[in-house]
Amino acid sequence: MERLAPLPRALAALATLCLLLVGLGAPAHGQPRAGGTLTIVQGAEPAVLVSAVNTSTFIGTVSTKIHEGLLDYDFDLKPRPALAESWSVAPDGRTYTFKLRHGVTWHDGKPFTSADVKFSLEEIWRKLHPRGRVTFNRVTAVETPDAHTVVVKLSEATPMLLAALSSYESQVLPRHVYEGKDFTTHPALNAPIGTGPFVFKEWKKGDYVRLERNPNYWDRGKPYLDAIVVRVIPDAAARAAAIEKGEVQLGVFNPVPLSDIKRLTALPTVKAETRGYEYFAPMYMMEINLRDEHLKDKRVRHAILHALDRKFIAENVWFGFAKPATGPIASSSPFYTTQGVPQYPYDVARANAILDEAGLKRGAGNVRFKTSLTFAPVQPEIPRTAEYIKQALGRVGIDVELRNLDIATFIRQVYNWEFDLTQNYLYLLPDPTLGVQRLYISGNIKKGTPFANAAGYENKDVDAVFAAAQTENDVAKRRELFARAQRLIQEDLPDLNLLELTFVTLYNAKLFNHTMGADGPYGSFKDTYLLP
């Protein structure tokens, strides 16, 4: 699944939450200490250890310690140097020049050069990365005038490019390892070679992955930790016990059910952090099948949104780790606006009135029409939300049948358009071109493709606005385009953007510098240290 990042206001809310939860934020504490092993817990085993071919969360947490990207991002999503020491963009936005860091070596000792970047972009990001195809589709040439310079030429300006060069989204892989080999079954996917602060050591399937300190890391003196162990504990209550006992010092992406967080953070040894998810911007949404005879009427969709008390859901089902969304772009995005964007506050009488007006009279059992809500319980809060929605819609005469499916069945059914309504969260990612437009442009009505425009929404104006924004190099004009998109989409409501979710990181009080940027769990952890 996917998500994106909150904005200043969200940050303020989050900061408040943090203060409430733990009394303090979690900034650095005195002098970093070298040594120690950090154990991270997660609920599922990674499939492979290279995010460039599979962007699953459980891979990202491990892969980003081994691999690096050209850039890195601070909490405001501003780029910082990583493998690229500096970069420049031509005024027309069609040439990007990256100066690469000197003295960087791969974990097998070979030098890192511009040829690796060229290979990664041309052969991996653009061909095998699910989002890379969109991000890099205007690249016409990748030039490498010397070993430490990469020049990317584009057919048109691609302003989102600089938002997509993190170690998670576009990780640089070694050409000498992968070139000319079958990528889908390459053994290095399970024992990767990167340039990052930690070196892959051992993977005991079903149990743990072990990484060790890279003694030749380019940022001398770092990393501080001797090793990172990622342990797999599938049961949520057992994860909570391991965190409570201090056997693991870090759990990310809601490591325990939200109902457990208050209890755990009451312990002196456990603290919570809600920053570090700005990059993902998780949006909890309801996709709607516009092919359905009732749901294709936008008045019905307006009524559904009026019928839901999203504040209640956020506070009671999500324990305050969510807030009502106002449109298709998350409040953490620089392109977010509410100006002129229609809102549908909780109002049962209004919902009933709209449905009456739409000609959907109450029949037997006070029911106007029957529909279904499909979801996969990937988090315990999702079925709870679905249960609330069933009740709330029942109140306005919409009889909802709940369909609780496993993730494979969910994806197969929804993205083959065999659904009415869904519940799911998607990452909106730092740029709307990357994470938002795919849900709404008619060119993305593709049967069998996950997280595309499953609704079947077609609006020529929306298509035009997103198309223009892709290549608009002027930030102000681009902001105006996205503002227009928000107004158009929120009027039509092809999907209901219900809640902006807040993810929680739980960590041991002895652990510092774990969340250092907008993609906290996907940070390199080179600055992370553990007190004894």
């Binding site: 699944m1 996917e2 092993t37 154990t39 599922a44 085993e45 499939a47 492979v48 599979n54 962007t55 699953s56 095998l128 699910p130 989002r131 195809r133 889908t184 079954t185 390459h186 053994p187 996917l189 399970n190 005991k204 399937k205 079903g206 149990d207 743990y208 072990r210 090793a227 162990v229 342990r231 797999v232 504990i233 599938p234 049961d235 209550a237 057992a238 016990a241 391991a242 409570e244 006992k245 056997e247 496993d406 993730i407 494979a408 069945t409 969910f410 994806i411 197969r412 059914q413 998607l426 990452y427 795919r438 593709k446 049967k447 069998g448 493709t449 996950p450 997280f451 595309a452």
Partner: protein, 328 residues
């Protein structure tokens, strides 16, 4: 004792039955699995968060999922016949290797829990039978009911809360301490510490069943002529119980244990999940969720072979326990 005239013929006959049984199992498993909606490409594409139709089609072709089902089945059966269990595209390694990696953990957990369950079951069952309708019998009955009725995962969690979190005696999960070099005896001790809670959680349920079974079986045997004769000879009650009655009373237990070894593998999924134990049960469960059919088929095949083998052993054990039973 096993060197009997019928033994060779018995084994030959049983082995001949294995081939069609396994073939049937492979075909049925394959077909049933392919009836479930969604495939590994759906899961991979879903996890990736986005995918183009071309990418999805490319993966299906690479994994051989675009071929007709009959062709896929034939190629799978041929693979199994030639000893090739296939490739797990999910884990990017061969199925055989994945299973072999997990097998030791599974055998350790299963073996220990089975031994624990049988020992507890026999001891408690015999004790209850010897004190039938007296306080000891009642106390055992209560314990049995409790462990039978409590869900395994919940017992596991409560054990973690008590022994790991509150008392701090044992680790919360995993199979060994990670990242330390230990000498062999220390490593054995380390694994044993990690094993205590999962083995106990898994064993309790089965111990409860075996206790009931042993109690009933002992009571039944106790009423038989040869036991009365033994008592009449004047030998001690302990010898009557353990020397004469127990041996015959074990037969039903052996049958049930044989049948349950297969389900122990399945039942361990919950315990493995709660304790993060890297066993085969969890691997199978995850393979279902991820639609990793090659892997799942491999595990199912191995479980079937295991059940067949255990049944054979059970038949041999019958003959060992009761010489009147003929091997045919």
């Amino acid at each position: 004792m096993l060197a009997r005239p019928g033994l060779t013929r018995f084994l030959a006959r049983r082995l001949a039955q294995v081939v069609p049984t396994v073939l049937l199992i492979v075909v049925v498993n394959f077909l049933v699995l392919h009836l479930t909606p969604g495939d590994i490409v759906d899961v991979l594409a879903g996890e990736a968060g986005a995918a183009t139709p071309e990418y999805v089609a490319m993966l299906r072709q690479r994994f051989g999922l675009d071929r007709p089902l009959s062709v896929q089945l034939a190629s799978y059966v041929w693979g199994v016949a030639t000893g090739d269990l296939g490739f797990s595209f999910r884990h990017n390694t061969t199925v055989a290797r994945l299973m072999l990696e997990r097998l030791p953990a599974t055998l350790i957990l299963m073996g220990t829990s089975l031994a624990l369950a049988v020992t507890l079951g026999v001891v408690c069952g015999v004790t209850a039978a010897r004190h039938v309708n007296r306080p000891a019998d009642g106390a055992i009955a209560v314990l049995v009911l409790l462990s039978y009725a409590t869900p395994t995962f919940w017992i596991g969690l409560m054990l973690i809360v008590l022994f790991s979190v509150k008392l701090g005696w044992l680790p919360t999960g995993g199979m060994m301490t990670i990242g330390v070099d230990l000498s062999v005896p220390r490593r054995v001790l380390d694994v044993a510490q990690h094993l205590v809670l999962p083995a106990a959680s898994l064993a309790l349920f089965y111990a409860a069943i075996y206790t009931r079974l042993m109690r009933a079986s002992m009571l039944e045997v106790a009423g038989q002529d040869y036991v009365r004769t033994a008592r009449a000879k004047g030998i001690s009650e302990a010898r009557v119980t353990y020397g004469h009655a127990l041996r015959n009373a074990l037969l039903p237990l052996v049958t049930v244990v044989g049948v349950q070894v297969g389900s122990l593998l399945g039942g361990s999924v919950l315990v493995e999940s709660v304790f993060g134990w890297p066993g085969l049960g969890r691997l199978a469960f995850e393979a279902i969720q991820q639609r990793d059919y090659n892997l799942l088929l491999g595990i199912l095949l191995m479980s079937s072979l295991l059940v067949i083998a255990i049944n054979l052993v059970v038949d041999l054990l019958y003959a060992l326990l009761d010489p009147r039973i003929e091997l045919r």
